[in-house]
């Protein structure tokens, strides 16, 4: 009985290690873009709760700057679009690798380590990492004021802010939460002393929670957001870059920027935590 269990376990290990070698070697067969056209549907992975890029409105529909971009891509391909929500940002790249989604549009920063696992389009937006502190903390002017033993820095697990915080803070403790919302909640309730996140997200969160939090807009690092695509899928990368070249700062993009970044009118239409 026990012998069989070990044989079974050994076989399982062989299968797992066998699969492992295939991971990350890129695509074979038709390009992702071709597959999307053939099945008449584009599946985009996103992690909602990142204002104003990806949010859900009161009817549970996805809205935001990234959704406009995704919808524009689907329109250009003349296919239907489906947004798949991943509560955990760190789960997006694995989902793209296994082929559950065709691309990730989720305010994702273009980074060298990520580019080993996926390919990025050209940047479609530039932003920076900033700090948010509870309102009653009136003294913090810079991240350096927070780098003291006993201070707690909340971050969204798997985000650029998390990586940056772990590099920057030598004395303070960095705490990984499941997504931006929970990390921001921890700061709002003074369970953590600060949050490191992308500037647009913090600006909107501050507007919505004026009484409890305050942004410190010292840019810790600036970065470019890109669309993550399956690794080395050249045809798809080419197509998306060409699309972005025509979309960026075009009429639709300008309307989207005005709607999401230059006004706060949409705030009441989206779900708030």
């Amino acid at each position: 009985m026990r012998k069989w269990a070990f044989i079974w376990l050994a076989l399982l290990l062989v299968v797992i290690t066998g699969c492992s070698q295939e991971a990350g070697t890129g695509v074979s067969g038709p390009s992702t873009i071709q597959k999307v056209i053939d099945r008449k549907k584009l599946v985009i992975g996103t992690s909602s709760g990142y204002f104003p890029f990806e949010m859900k409105d009161k009817d549970g529909k996805f809205v935001g700057y990234d959704m406009d971009l995704g919808t524009a891509i689907a329109n250009a391909l003349k296919v239907e679009v489906e947004f798949k929500d991943y509560s955990d940002f760190g789960g997006l790249i694995p989902a793209l690798q296994t082929g559950d989604i065709d691309m990730v549009i989720s305010g994702m920063t273009i980074r060298g380590d990520r580019a080993l696992a996926v390919s990025f389009s050209d940047p479609y937006y530039s932003s920076g990492q900033v700090v948010m502190v509870p309102k009653k903390d009136t003294s913090t002017q810079s991240w350096k004021d927070l780098d003291q033993p006993g201070k707690k820095i909340a971050v969204g697990q798997g985000t650029t802010g998390a990586l940056l915080a772990k590099q920057l803070f030598k004395n303070a403790q960095v705490m990984d939460f499941d997504g931006f919302t929970n990390a921001a909640l921890a700061v709002k309730q003074a369970q953590a002393d600060a949050l490191i996140f992308d500037e647009p997200g913090i600006r909107v969160f501050e507007v919505m929670n004026k009484d409890s939090v305050r942004g410190v807009y010292e840019v810790l690092s600036s970065e470019n957001l890109g669309i993550a695509l399956p690794l080395n899928d050249q045809a798809t990368i080419q197509w998306v870059n060409s699309f972005l070249a025509s979309y960026r700062n075009g009429l639709d993009d300008q309307a989207s920027i005005n709607k999401w970044f230059k006004s706060n009118e949409w705030v009441n239409q989206v779900q708030q935590q």
Binding site: A23, G24, G90, D113, M175, A190
Partner: protein, 217 residues
């Protein structure tokens, strides 16, 4: 095997720390859940209507709430007033959750001891407490061991949920490794084996206990 698996030895220190924290957290939660669970189990069969109502309500409520929701609630709602750290919130959440299940196991164990045992003990002059302490509970203990064992194993597995409130347990270490190395297959496979090793070891220890008891029966 290829270089893809290098991610494991390169990060063994982190994984090891995560494993220790998982064990620490599970052990603390167990220490909370055993006394609370046994007490609740005894309350449930109490003849005092009020006491048994309170115990039944607790068990029913906790069993009807997902652990993840309970953890968020303890950390973000209760923790706001009590200033619980993530670790304590995790211990409390897991411990109180598990206590409800242990209470049911204890109740079932006691009720499985034939009624005549209690009657015989009482008629030979023992008080209710003495009869419980010396006659009923020792017999019930033998009956509750197997379901208790699977509850402990469940507790260890459930502890992976605390990663959402920033407790750096084995699961959060793995999540962080996946988000920096993107080797999800390797990391998650290895972590699954690590969890399996702990729970398998535990179930072996408990079945050794059961064998020992059987001999003395």
């Amino acid at each position: 095997m290829g270089s893809a698996w290098n991610v494991i030895p390169q990060n063994m220190g982190l994984l090891w720390d995560g494993l220790l924290l998982t064990l620490q957290l599970s052990a603390c939660a167990l220490l909370v859940s055993i006394p609370v669970g046994v007490l609740l189990g005894l309350c449930r069969i109490s003849s005092n209507r009020f006491i048994s109502f309170v115990a039944v309500s607790y068990v029913e409520f906790i069993r009807g709430v997902p652990l993840l929701v309970l953890l968020f609630w303890i950390y973000f709602v209760l923790g706001k007033f009590l200033k619980l750290g993530p670790f304590l919130a995790g211990v409390l959440g897991l411990g109180l959750f598990s206590a409800a299940f242990i209470a049911e196991i204890v109740r079932a164990g006691i009720q499985a001891v034939p009624r005549g045992q209690m009657e015989a003990a009482r008629s030979s002059g023992m008080t209710y407490v003495q009869a419980m302490r010396f006659i009923i509970l020792p017999q019930a203990l033998r009956k509750v061991l197997p379901p208790m064992a699977s509850q402990f194993i469940t507790l260890i597995k459930d502890s992976s949920l605390v990663s959402v409130i920033s407790v750096v347990d084995l699961t959060l270490v793995a999540k962080n490794l996946v988000s920096t190395t993107f080797r999800s297959l390797e990391v998650w496979s290895f972590v699954a084996i690590m969890y399996f090793c702990i729970t398998f070891f535990l179930s072996q220890v408990i079945s050794a206990f059961e064998r020992k008891y059987r001999v003395s029966e």
